[in-house]
């Protein structure tokens, strides 16, 4: 398949790995931002191709993982309100809040629906004027344009039974927060290709300059990632700290102008609480004053939230790149995709889920007894 097969070629990948080994003279620690990149690295075993001493830390770029527990609790509380149809991306449904998940709420009678796009939720609102449709707007700059489009269309069409629980987050402030931490180990970044497809990469240039780190905008296929790693290490070896664009078949310096303009119109930048990372200034998007009437926070201002309880999940350490999932004592035992302690074990982009899926020893799996006279 075009744009896929040629970027998964094993021989080319090994040639790239050899090229990385040739230019690497000392240990380097890089972080891939996006959870999609983390999964690709583990699925294809790319980390095993790298020279000893080159470490990949898995970044906070999983939209589900960084959505705060409070936001999930609020989502569940709103979903259980009478008359509400609560719409969410599928990935978000299994994420545990304090007591349960959206799927748990659904099994107890809440009308929770999986949608592919906020526009599908808006469509539900058009078709069911007697119901209150709420969309859980999460994700990075990649999903924000579609949310913005839904809000703009809802305003244009005068739709009143539609609101959004907005928990959108922005990548550059998170990178700055990681780099400002006193115990930061990250020496170079692979920025997320899809985020930059929307936003471009101008915002990353001051970060590279200020913190003296190379940032390489990188795609998601094996060869993209290896090339991104190569470019990043080459900069480090040469003492440079620039923004480079590996994913040039998709990313332009200024990104997608129409999408950016829509984001700027519908949202304002605000402080945001990240699960595991805490509050980061100017790292979230909220609805601009003109669109506040679509804000589920105002529409459901009176709902109560459960008191939070301590959790042994170390997602914060993982999202900061301080620990890998297999270093968690609960990994694969008390915490599994079935009964997750944290979002990183749930999402298809979560680092713990990636380790569970691609790196877990299967020896502990129970086997069923052998059978004789049955068919399957």
């Amino acid at each position: 398949m075009k744009y896929v097969d040629e970027f998964r070629d094993g021989d080319a990948a090994r040639r790239y790995a050899a090229a990385i080994a040739r230019i690497t003279t000392r240990p380097w620690t890089l972080m891939e931002i996006c959870g999609g990149q983390t999964h690709s690295i583990l699925r294809h075993g790319l980390d095993r191709l790298l020279p000893e001493g080159v470490a990949l830390l898995h970044g906070p770029g999983c939209p589900v993982c960084v959505t705060s527990e409070e936001a999930v609790d609020r989502a569940i509380a709103i979903a259980t309100e009478p008359g509400v149809v609560f719409c969410s991306f599928g990935d978000m449904l299994r994420v545990p809040g304090t007591n349960t998940s959206l799927l748990g709420a659904k099994s107890r009678g809440a009308d929770v629906r999986m949608v592919y796009s906020p526009l599908d939720a808006l469509d539900l609102a058009r078709r069911h004027p007697d119901r209150e449709i709420v969309f859980f707007a999460i994700g990075f700059e990649t999903t924000a344009p579609a949310t913005a489009m839904a809000v703009a269309q809802a305003e244009r069409d005068g739709i009143r039974n539609f609101s959004l629980l907005v928990s959108h987050v922005l990548v550059p402030p998170a990178i700055a927060a990681l780099l400002s931490a006193p115990d930061n180990r990250v020496q170079g970044f692979l920025a997320a290709g899809h985020v930059c497809t929307v936003m471009g990469y101008r915002d990353y240039q001051p970060l590279a300059a200020r913190y003296q780190v190379p940032i390489v905008v990188t795609g998601f296929e094996p060869l993209d990632l290896l090339q991104g790693i190569y470019l990043c290490i080459r900069q480090l070896e040469e003492g440079r700290a620039e923004v480079q664009n590996q994913y040039s078949r998709s990313v332009r310096l200024d990104g997608n102008r129409a999408a950016r303009e829509l984001i700027a119109l519908v949202f304002t930048v605000q402080p945001q609480h990240w699960r595991g990372l805490g509050e980061i200034a100017e790292s979230g998007l909220g609805l601009a004053p003109r669109y506040r009437r679509f804000d589920a926070l105002t529409r459901f201002a009176k709902i109560g939230l459960p008191p939070t309880s301590p959790n042994e999940c170390i997602a914060g350490e993982i999202l900061r790149g301080r620990k890998t999932p297999d270093a968690c004592p609960a990994f694969g035992t008390r915490c599994t995709p079935e009964r997750p302690l944290g979002a990183t074990m749930v999402s298809s982009e979560g680092a713990c889920a990636a380790y569970y899926r691609y790196r877990r020893r299967a020896a502990a799996e129970p086997t069923t007894p052998s059978i004789s006279e049955t068919c399957r």
């Binding site: 398949m1 896929v4 094993g10 990948a13 090994r14 999609g36 699925r43 294809h44 075993g45 790319l46 980390d47 095993r48 191709l49 939209p63 589900v64 991306f89 599928g90 990935d91 978000m92 449904l93 299994r94 799927l103 748990g104 659904k106 099994s107 107890r108 999986m114 592919y116 599908d120 999460i138 994700g139 990075f140 990649t142 999903t143 899809h194 094996p222 995709p337 079935e338 999402s347 298809s348 982009e349 569970y356 899926r357 691609y358 790196r359 877990r360 020893r361 299967a362 020896a363 799996e365 086997t367 069923t368 007894p369 052998s370 059978i371 004789s372 006279e373 049955t374 068919c375 399957r376």
Partner: protein
């Protein structure tokens, strides 16, 4: 918590499944993954299975008066009722026909139970019934008994169909995971992933440029052709819920072997690959309704492959893996660029990614 059963003589039933207060059935309990397994192993088998091998699978073979009969039952709750390449009627016939075929049986007779919701259009029912009739003719089976129930509006989802079927198993046929041996080749009967993608795109109105049709089809004839090889057919399995990977892991675990999968040889059509890439789904776990794997010794692999390729929709049949001695690395192993990876059960249904 284990609840002792009320005193019923001869029925010592204690539920070993930890039932937490407030726990309820979730959709994933029907998804074919770990939760489904827990329900079967924790609740159904302790209640009904007299021997450990019973109730492990979609069909059973019993001996009655010297004849070996395969018996299977399945319920169909697909939404939408009509989808590219099939509908709930053809699915209900082919699904049970295929469960019987996977027992090594020649499917013969089916029953059908229809649960209709008040207000369901008769015209739609007519379409479904006609589709069932055609599917039965094509599969060479007869629908000989049935039942109809109507539930109040709002208490059903239009139409549910349950079918049961019986077939006869020839004396020399013995298929099952316990016959799988290291050295066996794994044959796949055609390309995978079409049914799941067709349903998802019809259900969610994804509107791909290329229409992807379900592979829904009866497998009885292909299996009958294969079974002419007799004892060399070690195991058969259709690739429904959970897809190819789940089927292979289940067989490998039951047979206590490791299957090495040659992922690059698994045929997947370009539209299915494209859709799966866009949605972030792994085609190895996507449901099929007209595909199966056969385990045969290496010496019989070429012959079996020639038979499969001669059958309808079998042009892409191919060898996709080899059975090995059990490895601590896992039940199902695939190669990757950087080494190998173990494939495991998915927790619930695959959900599309966010970005």
């Amino acid at each position: 918590m284990t609840e002792p059963s009320p005193d019923v003589p001869g029925f010592p039933f204690a539920c070993p499944m930890p039932v937490e207060p407030g726990d309820a059935i979730q959709l994933a309990h029907g998804g074919g993954g770990l939760l489904t397994r827990k329900l079967i192993d924790g609740l159904f088998r302790p209640a009904f299975a007299a021997r450990p091998e019973e109730l492990t699978h979609d069909g059973a073979v019993v001996e009655i008066g010297g004849a070996r009969l395969a018996f299977s039952t399945d319920s169909y709750v697909v939404r939408p009722l009509f989808f590219p390449g099939g509908d709930i009627g053809s699915l209900a016939v082919n699904g049970t026909v295929n469960d019987l075929a996977m027992c090594g049986a020649t499917p013969l007779y089916l029953s059908a139970g229809l649960v209709l919701e008040e207000g369901f259009p008769i015209a739609d029912l007519r379409r479904v019934v006609e589709s069932m009739r055609r599917a039965a003719v094509k599969a060479g089976v007869r629908l000989i008994t049935g039942d109809t129930k109507v539930v109040e509006r709002g208490k059903g989802d239009g139409l549910y169909v349950a079918t049961s079927g019986i077939g006869v198993v020839a004396p020399e046929v013995a298929v099952g995971p316990s016959r799988v041996r290291p050295g066996d080749k794994v044959l796949l009967s055609g390309d995978i992933g079409r049914h799941g993608i067709a349903i998802m795109s019809a259900r969610e109105g994804l509107g791909f440029e290329t229409a992807i049709e379900s592979d829904c089809a009866p497998l009885g004839r292909s299996v009958a052709a294969l079974l002419r090889l007799g004892a060399d057919i070690h195991c058969l399995r259709d690739l429904t819920r959970g897809g190819l990977a789940t089927a292979l892991i289940e067989i490998a675990e039951t047979a206590a072997v490791t299957i090495r999968l040659d992922e690059a040889r698994v045929p997947i059509s370009a539209p299915v690959r494209g859709a799966a890439e866009i949605l972030g789904l792994d085609p190895l776990y996507i449901a099929n309704e007209g595909r199966f794997v056969a385990f045969v010794p290496e010496s019989a692999a070429d012959g079996a492959l020639a038979i499969l390729r001669g059958e309808a929709a079998g042009a892409e049949a191919t060898v996709i893996g080899t059975v090995e001695s059990p490895s601590p690395a896992g039940a199902l192993i695939a190669h990757t660029i950087g080494g190998e990876r173990a494939l495991g059960f998915l927790t619930g249904e695959q959900l599309p990614r966010i970005c």
